[in-house]
Symmetry: C2
Subunit: 656 residues, 2 copies
């Protein structure tokens, strides 16, 4: 086999579906968020789950940095992690600049880097709330302080911005922050044997290590991974020393270590529990550090947690985190649809975790989840206009319930412009803007194509792969591989689990019959030009759930290709719970150009509908069978719901 | 028609079912609660919904009164309505003394009356928290103070104790309290134009009026009914004047008038909303005052609210109040089974409301609800041992969910010994001890028998009615009416709606065919002795719910006679959601002496069960039909659930 360098150079997304979203990032979302963090927007903030905890009518995030930098006078405003809105904007901007160069945007981003450098203290510390309001409490209440979380987000942004623009200052700030943290944390006597209340620094340090190859950053990441859960009294001791009544968030002081996923060392953890985003950011860092250090115990822990989530706590859309109470996982097989949380950030984090798992193991299951999130659970977090966002992504919604039953009032039926805790908007934008990072995995003389988003991608050894598709609407994928140096390598194609192994692969017109290894079809490549066609069976499928899950008994969901569908009141007469799909319904698929910026729609006549009772009918009747009538049902992709008039929505439908 | 006096004299309950419960009151519940309020018990308090708001390891209720009376030194402890635990104990004791005379109990009760008299201020005021801790704030924060609520509960107790024992002091205290309130409240310039945050005083004053015939008490009751919702800024103004940050219950200051059912005058109210017990105590007073004053607007309001609750917000068990958030009603047709609240007090209050409605309108529907509560929703609030209580009564329970999902952790799967907010234990005991008050309604030369609990009842004109039955297990009811003066009157028999009009009535062996009027069969009586036999069809029925209710689509419940059944994990392999009843299942009924202190059990083989998946199975499968197998299901009465090992319970079952 030839010496080779399969390192990926650049991916250019050509997919209509994703180009629309990525143009939206460049032209709408990023400018809109820039105005938000600069307090130049007048937006109406509705249905904010954090309305009680703060106001979202202003961000003040840039202003906080200016005050910390001494550029202006003023008071800190916002969440203690308000800085991260700026950092995640910067990271998104970096990814946008990678595919949509803009002098204006780069100038704005450069100015942000300058401002951050200015606000950063000489020792590398940066957390504006502490600098402005309580410098004496730095690193003294880590359970709630979000200092390491905030700096972690900057490190991600700095690495991203440096790698796209070469802005050295952006990277230097990140290194200086990491050095500051390194100086303060560890198990030696002069350091704090601490961990962050909210993980993020672990994955950030692993990224920084990969950008700089400085071992100390990997060591520090490993420290935070391994230290978590070692001293279960750490937070309490710090809180006591800092003053027990001085919580930043009332109640978070006594909520217990489980909420922080800090109840035991990760090597002893068997299930995801507590605040979902904390768990998933931690798992991302865990999988990354486990791979980089080749630590079997950590790898096993990552595998275990992955399996728990995927097999026992994942909504069909990819959403995770079943409860609004603590934005948290609950317990295995608990998947209520009408009270779930499914935070957008948690779905984004699932992509991060899956990507790290995929880099460790070449296994199609991880690509399945990345795809599931990209086309469903994560994507539903942003409106088709790019300027409205969901924090919570339910599988079933009813405006009447959200208004009338307080146990459901975290479920918004309209996306909001902004939130007092504005973590989700910039998380979904940074994911969409970086979707090109989630197409290929390269390892061991293999290029794995695990997402079928149309693209042109070049590799450093001259290989070019052109992927043509009208995915996700069409299952025909065409690869044209140009391999000028006749490099020998294996080309892997993930076969999505939703195909139920119904697919056809041809190479140079000849059908390929090869057994899959972990859902991957491997093709040996050595020719100068190779054409591969893949056809996935795009039949609509009925999904049912393990009977260990209470809430989906007697119900089915519908999926076509990677897209999970839902029924909306805009298309179907409410209440939606009256529809009962037949056992084997035939669906008619049609792409509708003018609907919801272009979506594939499923319709069926193989459905019945229970007669709707009137308010003069009795609430309860005895020994009466319900009347059902033939009906018609129209389904749209889940990600596109709540872009028309407000109404009911459901993913799961009763079945006859 | 002869001159007559049909006034009821005394009812002696002979029913096995109710004698067991009433002996339990006399021998176990009342002594246990006496020890509780005197802090003589060592009980383990588990799963207390108010654990966060207070401690239930002691009551201190008697101690508070002693401190207020100046008998001992000490600090107030407990809820601001802690006094009511004593008053409701006294009221229960009065009813117990009516059927189980006891010198010991009467001595205890007399001593309580003496203590209360001692604690009462010269002007009649009594609320120990204010007297001990904040006399300057009396009547100054009515939204949360529970002063009128507490005194209302005493008035009820005082009237009851006087009527049973003739203890004049007990009544005098009540009158003095009412006078105190009369002196302070009203719309004239020198008075507070206020209303209580928690209704109760309205119904208490109406009772006091009926005991004393003093018009001022009825006028005052009417004032509180009519004043509610007139000045929607009243609470806020008082709170501001009292100091906005001095809430007794954090959050209750800003929760809004809807929660207090004080958002508009009752004549404009169309639906039950806000805190369920507040609404229902208010409605009880409303219906009572409306009848006593013959006020059509108030009567219409009571009818409207009754209809809303019965037709749109009532669980099949009689439980009401759908959410733990504010222990409140939610909105029409919202009846979730696994997050509901169904407070025991709310079910007890439904009996009070129904009784007032029945006194106003001779209509079987009100008797239906009294029966529903007595045998289901209210009764489930107490364990078979009389010393453990439910605060929350769900229609579906799963210990895993209660522990693992915070949105369900108000649902206890074991009854508790006591609660920090101990309203429910004494509410269910006062209902059970006074169940003899809920058998007959006398009006317009008519005696209506609306409950079929076996009893011997005497009337002041010499009529005696003996009702023999083994109700609720048996539908054969036998009346022997002894009418020595040959009084002419109508005897009404409620025909329960659950009979679906399948019943047989014979008088002196001859079948009676008479049209019902509002579910009541009327029989003219004039003979000296009359024997009436009634046979209700006791077939088990499948209940289904209006399709306007989301949560019961595809599900049925089972009722036999007045008893609503449930499946428990003790009898059926979990998960219970896997059972699917056939469309017309045949049930075998058997009374089991040794089960749950004797219960009628329903069993069927006309049921299938979904195959239980294992944890190695996929969470989601495509295009696979679920495997079902023939199975067997055993149901027990809902009221008796959670008296064996902890496990799942469900009232609603899937149907094929």
């Amino acid at each position: 086999m030839q010496d080779q360098n399969l390192k990926l150079n650049h991916s250019n997304i050509t997919s209509n579906f994703w180009k629309r979203y990525r143009d939206l990032m460049a032209n709408d979302s990023i400018p809109f968020q820039w105005d938000m963090i600069n307090d130049n927007n007048e937006v109406e903030v509705t249905n904010d789950p954090f309305a009680a905890g703060g106001s979202a009518d202003k961000s003040h995030a840039i202003a906080n940095l200016k005050i910390a930098a001494g550029q202006v006078d003023g008071e800190f405003f916002g969440m203690d992690f308000q800085d991260t809105d700026v950092y995640k904007w910067l990271e998104s901007a970096a990814y946008v600049l990678n595919y949509a160069p803009s002098a204006k945007l780069q100038k704005e981003a450069d100015s942000v880097v300058d401002l951050i450098a200015d606000a950063q203290e000489d020792d590398g510390y940066l957390s504006t709330m502490f600098q402005i309001e309580m410098p004496e409490r730095k690193f003294k209440r880590l359970q709630q302080s979000h200092e390491l979380y905030s700096m972690g987000h900057y490190i991600e942004a700095g690495v991203a911005y440096y790698s796209v623009t070469g802005n050295q200052k952006a990277l230097d700030i990140a290194k200086k922050m990491a050095d500051c943290i390194d100086n303060h944390f560890g198990t030696t006597e002069d350091k704090i044997p601490g961990i962050p209340g909210h993980p993020e620094i672990e994955l950030a340090l692993a990224r920084l290590y990969e950008a700089t190859h400085e071992q100390k950053y990997l060591d520090l990441a490993q420290y935070f991974i391994k230290q978590r859960g070692q001293d279960t009294e750490f937070f309490e001791k710090q809180n006591k020393a800092d003053g027990i009544d001085r919580d930043f968030f009332p109640g978070l002081g006594t909520i217990g270590n489980r909420y922080y996923f800090a109840d035991k060392p990760v090597t002893e953890q068997t299930d995801a529990h507590g605040h979902a985003v904390r768990v998933l950011y931690f798992c991302t860092g865990l999988a990354h550090v486990a791979r980089l250090t080749n630590d079997k115990e950590l790898k096993d822990a990552a595998d275990r947690l992955w399996q728990d989530i995927i097999k026992k706590q994942l909504y069909i859309t990819g959403n995770v985190g079943q409860t609004t109470h603590g934005e948290a996982f609950t317990y295995d097989y608990d998947l209520p649809n009408d009270t779930d949380y499914g935070e957008t950030c948690a779905s984004v984090a699932m992509v991060f975790f899956a990507k790290q798992m995929l880099e460790t193991h070449m296994d199609g299951q991880y690509g399945d989840i990345i795809e599931k999130e990209l086309f469903n659970g994560a994507l539903s977090g942003i409106a088709l206009d790019g300027k409205h966002y969901f924090y919570v992504n339910p599988l079933e919604a009813d405006p009447k319930a959200s208004r009338g039953n307080q146990g459901k009032n975290h479920i918004n039926t309209r996306r909001s412009s902004w939130f007092a805790c504005a973590c989700c908007p910039s998380n979904i934008t940074r994911l969409i803007a970086s979707v090109d990072k989630y197409l290929y995995e390269v390892k061991d003389h293999t290029i794995l194509s695990h997402q079928f988003i149309a693209n042109n991608t070049s590799f450093e050894n001259g290989i070019e792969i052109k992927l043509d598709s009208n995915y996700p609407w069409d299952g025909n994928i065409k690869y044209t591989i140009s391999n000028p140096n006749k490099t020998q390598f294996k080309f892997g194609i993930r076969i999505p689990s939703w195909t139920l192994n119904s697919y056809e692969v041809t190479i140079a017109g000849k059908s390929v019959k090869t057994d899959l290894i972990d859902q991957i079809l491997y093709l040996p490549i050595e020719d100068e030009t190779v054409e591969i066609s893949v056809q996935f069976n795009m039949a609509a499928h009925l999904i049912s759930t393990s009977t260990l899950v209470k809430d989906n008994v007697g119900k089915v969901a519908v999926q076509r290709g990677p897209i999970v569908y839902c029924a909306e009141e805009s298309d179907n007469a409410s209440p939606l719970w009256l529809y009962k799909l037949d056992s084997k319904p035939a669906f008619k698929y049609e792409f509708q150009d003018n609907l919801l910026d272009g979506v594939g729609v499923l319709e069926t006549n193989d459905v019945k509908k229970l007669e709707k009772n009137s308010s003069t009918d009795e609430l309860y009747t005895f020994d009466k069978e319900k009347v059902v009538k033939k009906s018609h049902l129209k389904l749209i992709p889940y990600y596109a719901w709540a872009n028309r008039e407000e109404g009911q929505m459901t993913v799961w439908l009763h079945q006859s």
